[in-house]
């Protein structure tokens, strides 16, 4: 248990939280509700996975929410004139393209990633709003698309399956491919990576492209759920939730440190809290406050030895009282 907590603290936190919510709300641990949580958390989960790649490579991507929005209006809008599968491909390619643009400006001109992606965040949102005329688009979406949300395979909702599949592919990529390893190297020490012959620009652009792709994919899932695309409110603030999910899962914003498992758990923790607070009828304001507190505690305990010792002392004093 102690070892598990040391290597995967977020897994322990996730399970503990689920148990506590289960005690507080009788319906929380119902299979139906759990699968609901997975469904909801998977959307943010895709974006958080992409964010994880960018953070590991030493960057940050604020444009993800806007890419979700653009993807959703493209898929819905293009379905009126093109076969839906073509529209979906165009939307996913658009996401990858925006990622490449982000990566290009970050690497070719050494601009700060936060500024580059802040710009694309605004530009892409603007394009999505112009394309949709700021109105929801319903298009002519095929019924099969909605299976992406409502389908159930082996008792698991399809979005959850896709979410875990994306996680598994990401884990494999980071662990078993040269490019995956190079992401850690570039994020951990860019100069050392360059001197070891690694093409730093290629690696960085790749991380932004992955982030763009996964954000566009989240847009597809959103269309499947909402049965429409919308550009004004879709994905607002997701970049911050995605960063929060990764940070809760132990991904360092300095680059080079973090895991996919952590990010997945971070996304689930955030999704679970939202769901539980709804069930318990807690004011939504409190949700934001608690997410903020969880983030602060998580990051403090990853990065500060003093803070970890403080928690240790607190926990041991509690057990003594009991």
């Amino acid at each position: 248990m102690k070892k598990l907590f040391k290597t995967y603290p977020f897994v322990v936190v996730l399970v503990l939280m689920a148990l506590i919510f289960g005690l507080l709300s009788p319906t929380f641990l119902d299979p139906g509700n759990l699968s609901n949580i997975l469904k909801q958390a998977s959307l943010l989960g895709f974006v958080a996975l992409g964010m994880c790649f960018v953070l590991l490579g030493g960057g940050i991507d604020l444009s993800v929410g806007s890419i979700v929005a653009l993807s959703s209006v493209l898929i819905a809008g293009l379905s009126a004139t093109l076969p839906p599968i073509v529209g979906i491909h165009i939307a996913l390619l658009a996401g990858i393209f925006i990622g490449i643009v982000n990566g290009y400006f970050v690497t070719a001109f050494k601009f700060q990633p936060i500024i580059v992606t802040l710009s694309t965040m605004a530009i892409v949102r603007g394009i999505a709003m112009a394309y949709s005329d700021s109105r929801p688009i319903f298009g002519t979406l095929p019924d099969e698309l909605f299976l992406l949300t409502d389908g159930v395979v082996l008792g698991l909702p399809v979005p959850a399956i896709l979410f875990f599949l994306a996680g598994a592919v990401s884990i494999f990529f980071l662990r078993y491919t040269v490019l995956g390893r190079q992401i850690y190297q570039v994020g951990g020490n860019e100069e050392a990576a360059r001197l070891a012959g690694i093409n730093v620009a290629r690696v960085k652009i790749l991380t932004y492209a992955i982030s763009g792709f996964l954000s566009a994919f989240a847009g597809l899932m959103l269309v499947a759920r909402m049965q429409s695309g919308e550009a004004v409110r879709t994905g607002i603030g997701w970049e911050l939730d995605a960063i929060a999910a990764a940070a809760i899962g132990g991904v360092s914003l300095m680059g080079g440190i973090g895991t996919i498992v952590g990010t997945l758990c971070g996304a689930l923790i955030i999704g679970m809290m939202a769901n539980a607070f709804n069930l318990l009828g807690v004011n939504p304001y409190w949700q934001r406050i608690v997410i903020g507190l969880v983030l602060a505690v998580a990051v403090a305990s990853y990065s500060s030895k003093n803070f970890r010792n403080l928690i240790k002392r607190f926990l041991s004093s509690q057990t003594k009282v009991n």
Binding site: F172, R175, Y176, T177, V178, R181, Q182, Y184, Q185, G188, N189, E191, A192, A193, R194, L195, A196, G197, I198, N199, S252, G256, I257
Partner: protein, 500 residues
């Protein structure tokens, strides 16, 4: 005496940085503090500037015993230090920088008029007038240095400590700085110069103080000492030009590397270099000699202004480290922490960094094969570790250096560029590295090695090239080594005997 230190010592856990050193300087005097790297120059300067407290010994200011309560206290008493890394705030204007930390106030408001007037006065006294409103970051290094001096003047300094002030200045700028030092001297301000350039010592200093291994060696009036005497004081040993008997010459006539006219302003200037198969070539240069820049330029890490490189007889365009690696060049960078390793990553992943492609199987990376290879590399170099999966940052300096070299070995290159591979590591690790170098050259590889410790070069190299301010000052073949002469060349004496 303006400032005097008597028997000051400074100990760190396990290290004696300074042992019972005496030092004194009078008003209007210019004193050079000379010594090899690690001689204790910086420690002594920090004690004089109040930045660190000595464990033993006393300081006397104007004849009265004094204990500085931090560097600010020393500044208030008239002792200012200008470090190599200038303490300029690039976004602030010249005036703001001059009065940084002691802005003049009138009531609760800043008194800009008074500050501008005084800054103008000081700057014109120093013989230069950059616009008061220019951003400091947009000025040249020499002008920034001037602002630092003006800053200390505005604090009514009586003693100025300058740590290698000419490191990044052009020839004309150095001449201007010397003029400035002379006029400060005429005003009765004392100057301490930390330097290892002969021309500075003999041109503007009145006296020199020599340190070696943290000990006080002696002081001398400049007029009573010559270059040979100075180097003898610095090195302090009658040299037997010790050459390791285990070393067999395996150098062949075949050229593996031929560089012509390498230039990267202002660091390296028209450097020619050749390297034979099986040869160990040493670069004897002190800090700021351009030695690191030379290695990096050959490796393609920095862009050259001019020059050509031939590898194995054909022209090579090394525009990136990747291309250099592909041509068989490997670099062990000077600073292992910031350039050599990814400290957050496991030892194994660091060791296989440039050679990762070799462990790709049909199903992605073969982690078993990779770990085995990393283990093999680390064992070859006797890296001491608890587990290959522990972060490289947890290793000691010597072991980190060995991982950097393991990385190179794994890359399978045949020309090794080693930039200060023995700095800050223990004797055992040093021996392991020398053994490795001999082993490599016996197998037909070639090595270029940089070291500040010339004895090390004499021991392992077949040929030694002396570098000073980006120029080659002399070359020695094995058999003609002379430690004192090599040191003089590294300090700026050219082959013909003139001081650069």
């Amino acid at each position: 005496m303006l400032l005097e230190a008597r028997h000051v010592s400074k100990f760190y856990p396990g290290v004696k940085a300074l042992t019972s050193v005496d030092f004194s300087i009078d008003a209007g005097e210019v004193v050079a503090v000379v010594g090899e790297n690690g001689a204790g120059k910086s420690t002594l300067m920090k004690i004089l500037a109040g930045a660190i407290e000595p464990n033993e010994g006393e300081l006397y200011l104007d004849g009265n015993s004094v204990e500085f309560d931090g560097p600010l206290d020393a500044q208030r008493r008239g002792i200012c230090t200008i470090y190599q890394e200038l303490m300029i705030v690039p976004e602030l204007s010249v005036v703001e920088n001059v009065f940084l930390g002691h802005l003049k106030k009138k009531g609760i408001f800043l008194d800009w008029n008074a500050m501008r007037k005084e800054a103008k006065g000081i700057l014109s006294r120093l013989g230069s007038a950059p616009s008061l409103d220019a951003k400091a970051g947009e000025l040249s290094v020499a002008e920034q240095q001037l602002i630092e001096i003006a800053k200390s003047m505005s604090r009514k300094s009586r003693l100025l400590i300058m740590d290698e002030p000419t490191a990044s200045l052009s020839k004309d700028e150095v001449a201007n700085l010397f003029d400035l030092v002379r006029s400060l001297k005429a005003e009765g301000i004392a100057v301490i110069l930390i330097t290892h350039h002969l021309h500075e010592i003999f041109e503007i200093c009145d006296r020199l103080v020599v340190l070696r291994d943290g000990n006080y060696v002696g002081a001398s009036d400049i007029k009573q000492i010559d270059e040979a005497g100075l180097v003898e004081m610095m090195l302090g040993r009658t040299v037997d030009n010790y050459v390791d008997s285990r070393r067999h010459m395996v150098k062949s006539d075949e050229l593996v590397l031929k560089a012509r006219g390498l230039t990267r302003a202002p660091y390296i200037n028209n450097v020619d270099l050749t390297l034979h198969r099986g040869e160990v070539l040493g670069i004897a240069g002190l800090m700021g000699s351009g030695r690191t820049e030379l290695m990096r330029a050959i490796y393609g890490a920095d862009k050259l202004d001019r020059g050509s490189i031939e590898i194995n007889g054909s022209a090579a365009y090394l525009s990136s480290p990747r291309k250099a690696l592909d041509q068989g060049l490997g670099l062990a960078p000077e600073d292992r922490k910031t350039q050599g390793l990814v400290l957050s990553m496991p030892i194994a992943h660091n060791a296989t960094m440039p050679s990762l492609l070799e462990y790709v199987g049909p199903f992605g990376l073969n982690l078993g094969k990779e770990t085995a290879a990393a283990k093999d590399l680390c064992e070859k170099l006797y890296v001491k570790y608890a587990s290959l999966s522990q972060p490289a940052g947890n290793l000691s300096g010597g072991n980190q250096q060995k991982v950097v070299l393991a990385k190179l070995l794994g890359a399978g290159t045949d020309i090794y560029l080693l930039d200060e591979p023995t700095r800050g590591i223990d004797i055992g690790a040093k021996e392991a590295i020398f053994d490795l170098i001999w082993d490599l050259t016996a197998k037909g590889n070639s090595v270029i090695i940089i070291s500040s410790v010339i004895e090390e070069l004499i021991r392992v190299c077949d040929r030694i090239v002396c570098l000073h301010l980006g120029r080659v000052t002399n070359t020695y073949e094995r058999g003609n080594y002379d430690l004192n002469r090599i040191m003089l060349n590294a300090m700026g004496k050219s082959e013909a005997g003139a001081i650069q």
